[in-house]
């Protein structure tokens, strides 16, 4: 399923009115379908919607009813700084991921199928590897005396690693999220009709012009969608900033965790979580619009 990207929209189809009129309804007994759908919905309401909803409510009830948490969140300079750092790092990761991901997706989409399948494994295997393990790998690579640190030694002139800095977080997060844009963009490029660029060439456009004016516009929505998706996931990321970043790289998620576990400022934690959730859901809806049919989000 990793190489397929199914639709995120509700599946089409359902009892056709015409068919029902034609013959006796057989399996399409609405009651049974309603039960098949209703039970999972009930389960999800109980073990998912309820806890998340209750958590959201805390943002306006704790420590006292009202919007005091929200007011504090948007006026406290420390929290505003955290929001800014989070957005900035997520944006950096999104831009770098798209810049690196597009060429790979293009290469995979234009390779012969057999080679593309093998190369795709190189994208998918890291994707299936634990985020924790991949963050750990970057601690080894970027630490003092780590491989990257040593390779960069002639450039930086000192033996200090990049670890516990913004650079480390951006590199590690890019590594972790890069498979998303690659897979999404590749899925879109696979559907582009190659005869369109050939037609442009036949009509006299140079290869660059055909690429820029015909191919790129067709690839643009998925590319933007991939970038926004990386941005959204990056905004809420906890493990990597917490392990690879220093105190200056505290993201919203890191501050949320600290508020819950260390300072017991549950109302503020819930408020930040609410903001994060609204942002994520809003941007996810935007991605869905950008990528129209395909289920960008599903790996």
């Amino acid at each position: 399923m990793t190489t397929r990207t199914p639709a995120p929209g509700p599946p089409r189809g359902g009892p056709g009115g015409e068919r029902r009129r034609r013959g006796r309804p057989r399996l399409r007994r609405p009651a049974f379908a309603a039960v098949a759908l209703g039970l999972p919905v009930a389960v999800m309401l109980a073990v998912y919607a309820w806890p998340v909803g209750a958590m959201l409510v805390r943002s306006v009830t704790e420590p006292e009813p009202g919007l005091s948490n929200l007011v504090r969140a948007v006026t406290d300079p420390t929290i505003l700084h955290v929001l800014w750092v989070t957005v900035r790092m997520a944006a950096e990761v999104a831009v770098v991921s798209v810049l690196l991901g597009f060429p790979v997706a293009y290469f995979l989409a234009t390779s012969p199928p057999r080679r593309a399948r093998v190369l795709l494994l190189l994208v998918v295997i890291p994707f299936w590897t634990s985020v924790l393990v991949r963050s750990f790998a970057w601690i080894v690579l970027l630490g003092d005396g780590g491989l990257v640190t040593r390779l960069l030694h002639p450039l930086t002139g000192d033996g200090r690693g990049l670890l516990y800095g913004e650079g480390a977080v951006v590199v590690a997060l890019t590594h972790i999220l890069l498979p998303f844009p690659v897979l999404i963009i590749k899925a879109a490029l696979d559907r582009i009709d190659g005869s369109l660029t050939r037609a442009a060439r036949t009509l006299g456009a140079g290869p660059l012009r055909a690429f820029a004016l015909v191919y790129l516009p067709l690839a643009a929505p998925a590319t933007a969608g991939g970038g926004v998706l990386v941005f959204v996931i990056g905004l809420g990321f906890y493990v990597t900033p917490a392990l690879v970043g220093g105190p200056k790289e505290s993201t919203i998620a890191v501050v949320i965790a600290r508020s819950v576990q260390e300072t017991f400022d549950w109302g503020m934690a819930a408020t930040l979580a609410t903001l994060l959730l609204l942002l994520a859901v809003g941007l996810a809806l935007a991605v869905r619009r950008l990528t129209a049919v395909k289920g960008a989000v599903a790996p």
Binding site: A34, L37, V41, A280, V297
Partner: protein, 253 residues
Amino acid sequence: MVTLVLAFLVAPVLIVVVESFNGVDYLAFPLEGWSLRHYERFLGDASWLEATALSARIALVASAVATVVGTAAAWGLARFAGRGRSAAFALLYSPIVVPVIVLAMSYYFLFADLRLIGRWAAIAVAYSVMGVPYVLVSVTGALQRLDPELENAARTLGAGIARTLLRVTLPQLASAVLAGALFAFVIAFDEAVVILFVSGGDSVTLARKLWDSVRYDLTPTLAVAGTVLICVCVALFLLSEAAGALLGRRERR
């Protein structure tokens, strides 16, 4: 350029595997000698083994629940046309969109209220929520390729609804259900955020133990645990690809 990016993707994963064969007691790369001593340490340490077993148990339960819920929901969505269908879809699909830290907090508060912190079964249920969207997407894709007339034919020929689903519909969905189940398993097996909030010291999964170890001691034994995680996940991925290819061939017949 493409080669460099692909190397950037794969190299860190390989480095963890290589590091696990380290010959010294501190993290060093390139390696200073090869040895299996950290594997001996891992296998001789009951706490690592228990953590691995606990992760597997939680992931199995989470995957089973997610598979049942997700598959039923996918079939229901495909056959139900009444009101509330889009709302139901949004509910079932949304865990994929919700930041994990938000879920982690939500379950922390819920479990704290219900005194469920550290209970492995409760953790498994929370993880199953994260797996549902993947099963749903996978099975929905397969249902769209399925000819609904087959179900009608079975019904016309006298099969009851349960029998039709079990003998006609499910076999054709097998590879999609399996792919979803494996993905749900992997998600639960290496989940590393929710567990930090709800493990409570009693339910130390492999990911939880890895996290503590990365934070506080950074020994090469970590690399062994990381290698175990990598191997399990990659093996399951290859299994799902192989099963998909095999079952897909059978389904097409």
